[in-house]
Amino acid sequence: MGALHLEYTVAPDDFSRAGEVSGIVKRTLKDLGFPPAVVRRTAIAMYEAEINMVIHANGGKITADITPEEIMIVFADQGPGIPDIDLAMQEGWSTASEDIRDMGFGAGMGLPNIQKSTDYMDVQTTVGVGTTITIKIFVTQ
């Protein structure tokens, strides 16, 4: 069975490049022939998570493990961590600065959107240490 492991680095504070990794992975999934709905859900979740890394966490690392059955993506950063995860899961809640909001981000839809688009989401976070988000999308034909 085919398996593929991909690794990427997300640059901090560079909005012109935000979404780059999600774009690359989306293209890869398409070229591989994953069903359009799977590609779309992965792309939406990844984009949110990648933007989060840029806004809140000075970038980080993204790894993707791809098999015909599931797509697992891990977003690991060494940012400030999320103090109250239940609050962060509420739609509309955000700690993003005014500047970020002016750019159209920080609407507080990040984590809820990621959860909505994926089949599995796990958030491990420690204040002052960093956050690791693991998502999975199961491939159903």
């Binding site: 085919g2 070229d31 591989l32 022939g33 792309a43 984009y47």
Partner: protein, 439 residues
């Protein structure tokens, strides 16, 4: 059905094997093999970019010539709105151009702009009453339709399921002509005057029509000289114009949005911009809009690779003509019931690495492994547009590692090193590599 018959062809006598087209093709559909460019048909979307950029004019569009008129008892010219921007000195009266078309051999003229206008009205109605997925994406540009079919299948449900203005005009014109002449449909020739090769392919290979009603496609550039001379000789132009100003506007980027009168709209032109909009739409990053107009060519159809005039000059002329045209001229006899597609659109999986998902993943792992041995300069000397494309070609057995000049150089250096060259050539070569690496 042969799904991959294209209108862009290579004249191998003229091809010098440079990689200009290879690098500029938005679909990475061109390779140089044995010193000549080849087009990978499965990937080509007929955008015509290779025709535009080839410094040796080795890329050609396969279209018809005026001699095709002989094949019919009655011929109708279907000028694309972009034709109106090609000529100076017509003082806002496009009847001069339409009359000149008759003088160069057509029996009559039917403006594609009229069909475009009708489609705009129907689009407006569809969006207003739509419970379907918004935004609706225009399907006027065949290159856009092709790229969505191949690279953005999740957006297929957003496509406007109406025939293109060219196709709709041909059906409409043929009906009118049959009534007027009493001739059977096959004796009447509908000849589209095209700004681009993509529309010629749309005729040869209809995606959502059973069969095209267009009988031949002639390039604007093909008849330009003849038409220009004829225009100068028109003394009293006939009253042949039937379209209003919104239909004219389809020649330029943004014109379709204005014609459809949808307030929340977006228009983009040029392949790079189009792709970024489609990516954003797919990622749900776009602001809410109801209608999206996309044109493969910069400036819209006036930027088509088979036009003659600079697209920005042509745009100004079209806008000038629009000012001299009332909003609606003669919207009569329009067969609105015939505007819809014959059948739905299917995803075209040509870009997939492999038809089997598991095999595709294995193959991509292999491609990435090969790619890691290439130097990532994307120099193109191997004839592929990027190191990744070469790696894919190697993994699929279409190319070998020895096509990479850097790999060959490394091999050569290793060989020289082994033989302890007495004149020190190996050392100097190694020193040179080191200097380059430091640079």
């Amino acid at each position: 059905m042969n799904d991959k018959l294209h209108s862009v062809k290579l004249d191998s006598d003229l091809c010098k094997g440079c990689t200009t087209c290879v690098k500029r093709c938005p679909m990475e559909a061109i390779r140089v093999r044995d010193k000549k460019a080849i087009i990978i048909n499965e990937r080509c979307i007929d955008c015509g970019e290779c025709i535009r950029v080839c410094p040796h004019h080795a890329k050609k569009a396969v279209v018809d010539s005026l001699s095709v008129l002989k094949n019919f008892d009655y011929t109708i010219a279907l000028p694309a709105p972009s034709l109106y921007g090609q000529f100076k000195g017509i003082l806002g009266d496009r009847n001069v151009i339409l009359t000149a078309l008759k003088h160069i051999g057509f029996d009559t003229v039917f403006e594609v702009a009229a069909a475009a206008e009708a489609i705009s009205t129907l689009t407006n109605r569809k969006i207003r009453s739509s419970k379907e997925r918004l935004p609706i994406i225009s399907t006027a540009c065949p290159t856009i339709v092709r790229i969505i079919r191949m690279r953005f299948p999740s957006l297929i449900p957003h496509l406007l399921d109406f025939r293109s203005p060219m196709e709709f005009a041909a059906r409409w014109a043929k009906r009118v002509a049959q009534k007027e002449t009493g001739l059977p449909a096959e004796k009447i020739g509908c000849i589209f005057i095209s700004p681009c090769p993509a529309k010629a392919t749309a005729v040869k290979l209809p995606v959502t029509n059973e069969e095209s009603a267009v009988d031949a496609v002639i390039a604007i550039s093909e008849i330009y000289t003849k038409l220009r001379t004829a225009i100068k000789r028109v003394i009293v132009p006939e009253d042949l114009a039937i379209a209003g100003s919104p239909g004219m506007g389809w020649a330029i980027s943004g014109g379709e949005c204005s014609a459809a009168a949808i307030s929340d709209h977006l228009s983009a032109d040029g392949m790079e911009n189009v792709i970024s909009i489609l990516e954003a739409l797919e990622n749900e990053e776009l602001p809410q809009v109801d209608f999206i107009e996309l044109n493969a060519c910069v400036g819209g159809c006036v930027g088509g690779v088979l036009t003659v005039e600079n697209p920005f000059i042509a745009r100004g002329r079209v806008q000038h003509i629009m000012k001299h045209t009332p909003p609606v001229l003669r919207p009569e006899s329009c067969p609105v019931e015939d505007v819809g597609w014959d059948h739905s659109m299917e995803f075209d999986p040509s870009l997939r690495i492999d038809t089997n998902l598991s095999d595709a993943i294995t193959l991509l792992a292999k491609i990435r492994d090969i790619e890691s041995r290439l130097n990532g300069m994307d120099c193109g000397a191997c004839g592929a547009p990027s190191c990744h494309a070469l790696a894919e070609d190697i993994a699929k057995g279409f190319a070998t590692e020895d096509q990479c000049v850097f790999i060959v150089r490394e091999k050569l250096q290793a060989l020289l090193g082994q033989h302890e060259n007495p004149d020190g050539a190996a050392e100097s070569a190694a020193a040179e590599t080191e200097r380059e690496e430091q640079a």
